[in-house]
């Protein structure tokens, strides 16, 4: 029953070039994760900024965030289904729920950790409110936000896989079907796809950005 690596690669080949089921599933999933991730990052950033800058929000809305973030995706699914009549929206909702918290928490901490001196300096230059956040706090917290983006991406994927059990296609669903019908090689093939996408995004996007940011912000050795 233990899957063979070679057979996994054969499954990978078949799935992309013969049956095409992986091509279809991947396209579906990528579309979802792309949109969901973007939404998670945007919503997470906004929430994080609000929590970091308003004490009131941190103590009210913040509690809600804290309370809700440990509730697993599977619990959200039925709720999402009711709230959004379409399955696709429900899936998006679950991805967003998965990816938003890490972003929120990291942006929040990033902003809280901005050197007070920088904010003071900017305030003497007439920056306040929205502009202060946009032009000083956010850039200053970018190294921390980057970690949030990374985690958002990872947990977005995880949530996507859980959400695709809903039965609307995608890699998550294919993975489950493959598991139920003992095609362990296909399971491994899908894991490889997920891992490879993770690596591509890391090496083509996150890593270069991080290196640039750390150099520019003066943290590199």
């Amino acid at each position: 029953m233990f899957p063979s690596p070679i057979l996994s690669f054969i499954e990978l080949y078949k799935g992309f070039f013969e049956t095409g089921i992986l091509t279809v599933a991947l396209t579906t999933s990528l579309g979802r994760i792309g949109l969901g991730f973007a939404l998670a990052v945007i919503i997470g950033s906004i929430l994080g900024i609000i929590l970091a800058t308003s004490k009131l929000a941190d103590e009210t809305l913040g509690s809600l965030v804290v309370a809700l973030q440990s509730v697993p995706s599977i619990v959200w699914l039925p709720l999402a289904l009711v709230m959004f009549q379409g399955g696709t929206t429900a899936i998006l909702f679950v991805i967003v729920l998965g990816g938003t918290w890490p972003m929120t928490m990291n942006v929040r901490m990033g902003i809280k950790n901005v050197q007070p001196l920088l904010i003071r300096a900017a305030r003497t230059m007439g920056y306040k409110g929205y502009e202060l956040i946009w032009k000083v706090m956010i850039p200053a917290s970018i190294p921390s936000a980057l970690t949030g983006v990374r985690l958002s991406w990872a947990f977005g994927w995880r949530a996507l896989m859980a959400a695709e059990l809903l039965g609307r296609g995608g890699l998550g669903r294919t993975l489950l079907d493959a598991r139920d019908f003992f095609n362990m090689e296909l399971v491994i093939a899908i894991m490889i796809i997920i891992a490879v996408i993770g690596l591509i995004v890391e090496y083509c996007i996150f890593n270069p950005i991080e290196r640039k940011v750390l150099t520019r912000w003066g943290y590199a050795k």
């Binding site: 001196l117 003071r120 305030r123 003497t124 920056y127 306040k128 032009k135 970018i142 520019r216 912000w217």
Partner: protein
């Protein structure tokens, strides 16, 4: 139009966790006339930066009020430019961007750039306009922040030891520049320094602050005309006078610190000739 009235200002830092509090000074009363150049002088930790920050609107006074041009200070504003004791540059911006950042709300982009470069030239950094702060030396960072405050062209200029990290030649060049700007534009300047000569050279009045308890000890009028020369008799006299008073303050601290040790052998060796050596540099 933009005189600064510091009315009975006091500042106490509360440490909530340990239920302690530290009073830096109480009841500081100082009226800086519009267009006046006032220096703050005093031992380290006496509250010069704190007072400046209160005027800047960055710290809240525990008691009393500050009026700038008849409006009570509630927060920071572009009417008051600040050169901080530490450089306070945005690490993600180049030198040029840092200076432009301070003025681009008031000038168009090209104008802001022109102006920024002009002031960066003034502090001899035109070769480094594309460098990031972490690529600069300590003195260079300080110069960027001076250029930034000057470029902002505020009515009141609050400068916290702006020239501390500069070599004497650059410093003396900037003295002239600041004086030139001050004369031309009639700015009100409050200037923190440790350098008695610098304060005499530049100011209309010198405020000497003390420590434990903090507050104003004395205010010296620098009555003789500019340009002033350290070699002038009046200059030397005033310098000596301020120096004596400051030394008295320090000695007080020293006595407190050393306690019974103050008259011990080593202490005597170290401090006995203190007043006589005269190396007030």
């Amino acid at each position: 139009m933009s005189e600064v009235k510091i009315n009975h200002v006091g500042k106490t830092f509360e440490n909530k966790q340990e239920q302690t509090s530290y009073t830096v000074f109480e009841d500081i009363d100082l009226h800086v006339k519009s267009g006046e150049f006032v220096s703050l002088l005093g031992p380290s930790g006496c509250g010069k930066s704190t007072l400046l920050n209160i005027v800047a609107g960055l710290d809240k006074a525990s008691t009393g009020t500050v009026l700038v041009g008849n409006r009570e200070v509630q927060g920071p504003g572009v009417d008051r430019g600040v050169v901080f004791q530490e450089a306070a540059l945005m690490p993600w911006m180049t030198v040029l961007e840092n200076v432009m950042f301070a003025i681009k709300k008031r000038y168009s982009k090209e104008e802001a750039k022109k102006r920024a470069i002009e002031y960066l030239k003034l502090v001899h950094l035109s070769k480094f306009i594309d460098s990031y702060p972490h690529e600069l030396s300590g003195g260079m960072k300080q110069r960027v922040s001076i250029a930034r405050a000057l470029a902002m062209d505020p009515e009141v200029l609050l400068m916290d030891e702006p020239f501390g990290a500069l070599d004497e030649q650059t410093r003396s060049m900037l003295h002239k520049e600041v004086q030139y700007i001050w004369e031309q534009t009639g700015k009100t300047i409050i200037f923190v320094t440790h350098n008695i000569r610098e304060s005499i050279l530049l100011s209309d009045r010198i405020v000497l602050m003390g420590v434990r308890p903090g507050g104003i000890i004395n205010i010296f009028d620098v009555a003789f005309p500019r340009p002033r020369k350290p070699a002038d008799k009046e200059f030397a006299q005033l310098e000596e006078e301020i120096s004596q008073q400051l030394a008295g303050e320090i000695e007080k601290v020293m006595k407190e610190e050393m306690g019974d040790d103050y008259h011990s052998q080593k202490a005597t060796l170290l401090y006995s000739s203190h007043r006589n050596m005269g190396d007030h540099i």
